[in-house]
Amino acid sequence: MAVLNEEQTMLKDMASQWVRDRLPVTALRGLYDHGGGGLSGSDGYDADAWAEMAQMGWCGIIVPEAHGGADFGYLSLGLVIEELGRTLAASPLISSALVAASALRLAGTQDQQARWLPGIADGSLIGTLALDEGPHHAPERTALAATASGDGWTLSGTKRPVQDGMIADLAIVAARTSGVAGDRDGLTLFLVPTDSAGLERLALDQIDARRPAQYRFDSVNIAVNDVLGEVGKAADLIDAIRDRAAIGMAAEMLGSATQAFDITLDYLKTRVQFGAIIGSFQALQHRAAELFGELQLTRSAVETALAAIDADDPALPALASLAKATAGETLHRISSQMVQLHGGIGMTHEHDAGLYLKRARVAEQCHGSTAWHRERWARLNGY
């Protein structure tokens, strides 16, 4: 654990307690159909629990005080996200309180911040980022077209997947105002209320019982004031937002991996086979020891990256990719071993191992996959 101040320690303890009481893994199970997919008609989260989270101030942790937040830093928000990750708690906290809030903090005008941040901070409004268009994260391949029309813009095209897209009120949409798919120039971000005319949303039934969405933009009109940042120059801004998103996702994965490891370790200490506690078998002991080592690396990478946002560290891009890729690989290994070491029971939908496995693969993929961030780190470091 990073060295925390008193407030951070309190926040972490509170989050830990609340998550275990209010959103244990059984809560996630409530979002699943008994056959294993997302429950039909589910929103992919628990709205009442979300209201409680907002009540506790978690939605405003990185929001400036002037806009109703606590301005308490990303490391603090990361502590909460990590705890949520432990029980696979489903909520739009990353999408809204981290990603959307970051976007507005980084590039919002005073008016834009005043309009959107208070709602994000008090949880009454859910924001999200609508960036990806294909199965793989590739911002520069953005094709969704924004054409100038009157004194505003018109958006046409498709976004998918949009995290928490079915419950979001505000989408921060990456669109192409010039150039062609593949160019870094010509990208622009727009602040788009999801009830805008011409925006159609379709829920995606995902293995982790969340509900990301597909957004279809059919000539959606945007006012000129709803451009976030500079027209045609959003590529760096998108990177900055995505890096924060990736670090948030890495914090969640750190929590999930830690908990998956703890559950598995408990099982190793209790399950008896061949007349012995299976945790006494050396091959399993060594595997556990090695996974423990990987967890150490992951915690360091994630906490370093969170602190780097707060410190405005110029190494942030590389540290973000390091955190996301390291957490991705570690959670991949631990969630797979969670199933393996539980044996047959771990293969059943009734057991939690499968839920960790499924969420793990979604989180690995989200905001740039492990492979994507490895390659990015490589490029940033001259490989």
Binding site: G343, M347, L357, A371
Partner: protein, 393 residues
């Protein structure tokens, strides 16, 4: 068994080809046989399948090497292999293939008495009785011999009580071969092998939902189930020996499974794009794909090599090592496929995901079982270390 002369072989091949061409229903071409093997309802509902099953039953070619009185055709293994090859060549499948033909049949042939053989083998040879395997228990997974299902000798019948788990297709099975405990003092030496009619009173089979959504495996509860004395295979307390032999048949049939070798490269170009040098545009993922594909090739070469050595009377140890190579390679491949599909590989249901995507996702989840069932990865490593490599302890 004498080898066939080349001339006989060619003659039989022509004969088999002609018969199969005339009798295999063209509508079933390239339909996966597993569909009917795993699903009694699908099998019952498909007239072509029923026709095909009946024809193969009459011909005895579902189990060509079994004696005619047991429903077979009394042929050599060489004949059987030719039938299989010709069947594959026309995109066909063996409609008789089942747990019964692959595992119980060979076991009964070795350990069953003549009455048991005549009672059961013909119905296996016609695929009219589906069998399931009652081995594992909640407290006896890797350590199978720890099983506790009670079996009491009531004089004129056996009385069994207990719970089995991971029983494939128990909810559709007509009969079950069950390992039961007839002596609580000895571990391996206190186990017996029983044949149990699933219609018996006191049996309940409950499907288990797996992480892949499959409900193929069941829990089976035995509550004071009466079993005729004649249903004991072999001697009392000889069950462990029989079970080990049966598991060998299972391992052999597993190692026959054709590992899917559809190359992932074209798919990866579609999903990930191609860089300026013509490479799949994700270096890290590409490196892992290449590594996996190369191991897959070497694995396939290993299967061919061991088959050739076995045929020539050479060494045939190392099945456990092979199983671990296979599960590792196939599991990684299944993961790579999902990773190639990116966000589109994460769907559970619904139109936004293609059928191939949803199938890949579930296949990946299902693949996690490969290193658990049929002897876990860890148990196989123990076996390799001790039996193949002769390490102590």
């Amino acid at each position: 068994m004498a080898e066939m002369e080349p001339i006989d072989r060619e003659e039989f091949r022509q004969e088999a080809r002609a018969w199969l061409k005339a009798n295999f229903p063209p509508a079933l071409t390239n339909v996966p046989g597993l569909l009917f093997q795993g699903d009694a309802h699908a099998a019952a509902a498909n007239a072509d399948y029923q026709l095909w099953r009946q024809r193969m039953t009459d011909k005895g070619w579902g189990v060509p090497t079994w004696a005619p009185r047991y429903g077979g055709a009394g042929l050599t293994e060489a004949h059987g292999k030719i039938i299989g090859e010709e069947l594959t060549a026309i995109g066909g499948f063996n409609p008789i293939r089942s747990y019964g033909t692959m595992m119980l049949g060979p076991t009964l042939l070795e350990y069953g008495d003549e009455a048991q053989k005549l009672e059961h083998l013909p119905f296996i040879a016609s695929h009219e009785r589906r069998w399931c395997q009652g081995f594992s228990e909640p407290g006896a997974g890797s350590d199978l011999a720890a099983l506790q299902t009670k079996c009491i000798d009531m004089g004129d019948h056996w009385l069994i009580s207990g719970q089995k788990i991971w029983t494939s297709g128990a909810d559709q099975a007509d009969w079950c071969f069950v390992l039961v405990r007839t002596d609580t003092e000895r571990k391996q030496g206190g186990i017996s092998f029983l044949l149990v009619d699933m219609q018996s009173e006191g049996i309940e089979a409950r499907p288990i939902v797996l992480i892949s959504g499959s409900t193929h495996f069941c829990e089976v509860f035995f509550n004071d189930v009466k079993v005729p004395k004649g249903n004991l295979v072999g001697e009392v307390n000889q069950g462990w020996t029989i079970a080990k032999r049966l598991l060998q048949f299972e391992r052999n049939s597993l190692s026959e499974v054709k590992a899917d070798i559809t190359p992932l490269a074209p798919l990866a170009h579609d999903y990930l794009g191609t860089d300026a040098l013509g490479r799949i545009d994700s270096p890290d993922l590409r490196a892992r794909m290449v590594r996996n594909a190369m191991r897959h090739e070497a694995y396939m070469a290993t299967v061919r090599r061991l088959a050739a050595e076995g045929k020539n009377g050479g060494p045939s140890h190392g099945v456990s090592a092979l199983k671990n190579l296979w599960s590792g390679i196939i599991q990684e491949r299944a993961e790579l496929l999902v990773e190639i599909m990116g966000a589109d590989g994460l769907g559970w249901a619904g139109d936004p995901y293609s059928a191939a995507e949803k199938e890949a996702t579930r296949a990946w989840l299902h693949s996690k079982a490969f290193s658990i069932y049929g002897g876990s990865y860890e148990v196989q490593n123990n076996i390799t270390a001790k039996r193949t490599l002769g390490l102590p302890g």
